[in-house]
Symmetry: C2
Subunit: 295 residues, 2 copies
């Protein structure tokens, strides 16, 4: 089911006041994208890091700095903090939200966010769980840019309690930011993201640590790395706290994927050890065909 | 030891005739770079693939198509074929080389190339083993471009028999192509490349195969991949034959690196399974610090 089947509202989107809780790469880029699209009035920024908030205001990412009570003015409140900080952030702002306001999030693991937020929600708050599939290896307000979501997918994972009007509003918000919105079940989201995003990050982090710890020579062999290695390991520069939280909260799906990956690497290792050229070439060719198909 | 200590010749470099044996990304880009630098006269192209040769000539990568006997005119003969094709290529051209001509190569594994070529060499042929640390995931003459080597390292691995004048010539040839030339021992080259290049390719190929084979859902989950996954797996589109040969000929160093990588991934997996947030964050932070240092 794509969101194009969800045309509840045909009026132009306008969000008089948006509160962004956690003004980093994800929340800041959403703010900039919605401003650029002209669909938002005032943007209130809320963040535990005062210096980051000041940067966000200086760069025009947000209009106004506030504490949690600032969400009282907001029509839409967007939680864009690391997954394990979601519950505390939600607990801080929900009591200040006005009845009927929409709460959404950008958390990379949806099952954990839903479990943590469910006890905090009331029927006055319309929650729509979301996850924009976009990012860079940079973090903080200064990493935000208006075109981050252009042409990228945003997955929303509504549950039976999700209000259709709120879902429609959040859908149109992400579309205004440039995204293609896709609706998906929570568990499927978490498993697919474990495969295409969480696993590659774990592999990249492990690879950089392994190569950095190769101590046969006195010099730092990373200095010999060329473009391939740099592209390959770019995601190992991603925010450690964000990825700690993802690894902690999507554990089962991630462990399943790591084990699947280990099986394939083990198969390749056996072919290398046996010097089986035919199987090696076939292994590489299969991979190349899959990879070329998503170019 | 860097090549700057090797200033045997101060006369401007001029190679009247260069023969490129294997006109793909590596050999073709060398031809284009040397032409652009104005240091080469005629370039003769030799390749088993007639269609590729025709493309190379049409694109101006080479001046003339020839069989193996075409190396008779060459001052420098450069073997740029997959590692396991080196011996056959060398055996085909060496009998036609004129006495005193320089033979060099661009093979990714130096130990294997040296072992295979040694019995074929005579005192009339000056062999200089080399490896430009550059490439893209594309292959064939049409993938070649003149700036591939700009600012990249080229490692030469001279042995005791290597003629200093020939080493000087090949050094200056790669410098003219835009490379920084580094001299290194054969075994060290093969181990360092196993770490920074061969291991990442094995990991990328395995990752793409693992994710492609994740069959919990009917759709191709690779369609959900975003920029991170695409960058991360770009090298899995590399030439399967080239990588089969590398995996076959640098086996011991590569198996050692795969096992080192498996240990780090295993450590990470254990931390995820135990939900040890402190260790996870520390693991990711260590990796990020190493990766940021080579940006």
């Amino acid at each position: 089911m794509t969101a194009s089947t969800q045309q509840l509202s045909l009026a132009p989107l306008h969000i008089p006041c948006l509160a962004v809780v956690g003004v980093g790469l994800i929340g800041g880029s959403l703010a900039l994208a919605l401003k650029a699209a002209g669909v938002v009035g005032e943007i209130v920024g809320i963040d535990l890091d005062a210096e980051n908030l000041a940067t966000a205001q200086r760069l025009g990412v947000i209009d106004r700095i506030s504490g949690p009570e600032g969400v009282a003015a907001a029509d839409v409140v967007c939680l864009t903090v690391p997954v394990q900080a979601m519950a505390a952030a939600a607990a801080g702002v929900i009591p200040h939200m006005r009845p009927g306001a929409v709460l959404t999030d950008g958390g990379s693991v949806k099952g954990a966010v839903l479990r943590e937020l469910e006890p905090l929600l009331s029927s006055n708050i319309q929650f729509v769980p979301g996850h924009p599939i976009a990012g860079t290896e940079c973090s903080g307000a200064e990493a935000a840019f208006a075109t981050l979501y252009q042409g990228k997918r945003c997955i929303l994972t509504p549950v039976t309690e999700t209000d259709p009007t709120a879902l429609d509003l959040v859908t149109r918000m992400w579309q205004a930011a440039g995204s293609e919105v896709v609706l998906m079940e929570v568990e499927k989201h978490d498993r697919i993201l474990a495969a295409i995003s969480h696993l590659p990050h774990m592999v990249a982090y492990s690879l950089v640590n392994a190569v950095s710890n190769y101590d046969r020579y006195e010099e730092n062999i990373l200095n010999y790395s060329a473009g391939g290695f740099r592209d390959f390991t770019r995601i190992a520069s991603s925010d450690p706290v964000m990825w700690r939280d993802i690894a902690m909260t999507n554990r089962d799906a991630l462990l399943e994927m790591i084990e699947l990956f280990e099986r394939f690497l083990g198969e390749l290792k056996a072919d290398i050890a046996q010097g089986d050229g035919e199987r090696l070439q076939e292994f590489f060719l299969r991979s190349k065909s899959s990879r070329d198909a998503i170019l």
